[in-house]
Amino acid sequence: MSVELFVQYLFAGITYGAIYAIVAIGFNIIYNTTGIINFAQGEFVMLGGMISISLLPFMPLYAAIALAVLMTMLFGALLEICFIRWLESPGVLRMIIITIGLSILTREAALHLWGESIRSLPYFIGDEITTVAILGARISPQVLWVIAVCGLMVLFLSVFFQATSVGREMKACAANRRAAILCGINTRNMVTLSFMLSAGIGALAGCVMSPITSSGYDIGTGLAIKGFTVAILGGLGNSMAAVGAGLLLGILEAFSISVVPLAFKDAIAITILLLILFVRPHGLFGSSTAAGLKEF
């Protein structure tokens, strides 16, 4: 494999990996504050892309994206308020089924609203044939956009969780919910906020990836599976590890295309998921004792 081809595959892998990492972080944010896995996580990414495409005729690109992200955040908050907030200590099985139901309803609503056609946002800079040369490989500027935006989001989140009081309250809620209540933190609002936050980052990722990968009503499930694989790979609840795991999966997938047929690309991620669940359910970077204390 020549250097150019290697770099080409590497960038493709990093692009997808960054998206998977963002979805995985979305899973982690909600998991940390509620202990539930939101199976509707992938739908946020879909909604971000689809809403911004629909808004585009009425406003400039960046305004459409900002509004789409805000609307998806609102949608995330609504989901939490309507379907999750008022349940008293629901079982894991019940929550799995409810979030799966929400994911189906969101997808079906999108199908009836936007139809089956695949759309995409225009390229932010130039068009589909604009390229930048990096180490001899031709890379679309959009790829750099995806990597930059996802990187900034990770940076923003780590600053948010460490330096702001709201972020620290959310972390307290994740560490020990009862203790957080005793400290006067409104944990219910924190849960709503965690849904908004993960909806927001998912939607933004959905917007920046849209020119490259296209948006359709049914992209959510696939992304949710990949994102979950990454979240588990890094260790559930550990957002920084999810970034590493996301890049790892993205690059693995990108290079796998040169070996196995494209149709089996998804099967690779799922095989990795099954293997990691069987062998190291606490993740590559997690500790098994800590995982043993958590409730799945």
Binding site: I96, G101, H112, I225, D266, L277
Partner: protein
Amino acid sequence: MKKLLPLAALIVFVIVIQKMTGWTDTRFYLTQLTMAAYYALLIVGLCVVMGYAGQISLGHAGFFAIGGYVSAALTTINLIAYQDRVVIRMLDGFGLLVAGQDIYGDAILVVAPWAACIAAVVCAGTTAWVLGIPVLKLKGHYLAMATLGFGIIIYRIVLASAVFGEADGISEVPPLPLLPGLTVSGDFGMREENYYIAWGMLIIGMILLRNLIDSRVGRALRSIHGSEEAAESTGVNTARFKLKVFVLSAVFAAVAGVFLTHYNGGIGPSEASVMKSVRYVAIVAVGGMAHLWGALIMGIVLNFLSLRGVFGSYDDAVFGFILIVIMLFAPNGILSLNWRGYFLGLFRRSGQTEETGRAIDGTP
């Protein structure tokens, strides 16, 4: 005797429905009722895994598809080009192959339907066994994702393999002869017979599962559902029981898949899709997780309505909606709600309705 009453009622119901469609000249309903019965067979199997053993499976459409596709592939792939190979000769020697002619008059040599049927069920059972050993060690979200992953892999394999017809699926699957004069096929002349075959299978399945639940195994399963640690500490081999019931339900799903494929004369990749698995889970949830009869009734009613096309293009949305509403308001199934108390409450003074109002929340 009391245990036999619901079964007797079911048998009477089955016969009455068939007679009624005969009198009112609406025999076309029998087609959907037959298909619904096969889907219900899968659903009652899944009900035991979910409701009694407490293990979620989001991959049961995968087992259904393994059953259907293996049987369909074996009975349609023409082996005539390989007829001189030793393996094929051996199979022929055992009487496992049938020779015939296709619609163009060319000679074909395929696996006999009964042998294909057994192979398909064994294949699904083995898959469930191999998958179950590691998967059933997982709990909650991990178990859900692992079974979902299995379902997607099966879907991808079906969609990407030329043997399984890729996106087109497999068609022109031959009928499956059971007894002389009794064949599983979509032939209009055999409509009544097939209706009784399907419902007969379902009733046999129900008898088997009822006996299982009322036995030592059933009590062990319920103890696992209650608390796996407690069950373990009282000497229940939880891993073995979970695996057994998982394989059993996969066999139920595969049998349903085989029969429905031969009845329809074909199978497509949508049978393996994740949405199908979710639908089965939804139906079990509506019937009340640990409620075999609830699962049976809902399996028949919802599948029948769906197959008749009542929900139109909102088919999947309806199942998603049902899933959410049931899980929010009646996690133990709609049959577990205090309907009697609710209706009596309507006639009482307003002060007393508060209590019955809480009862319909379904929170135990």
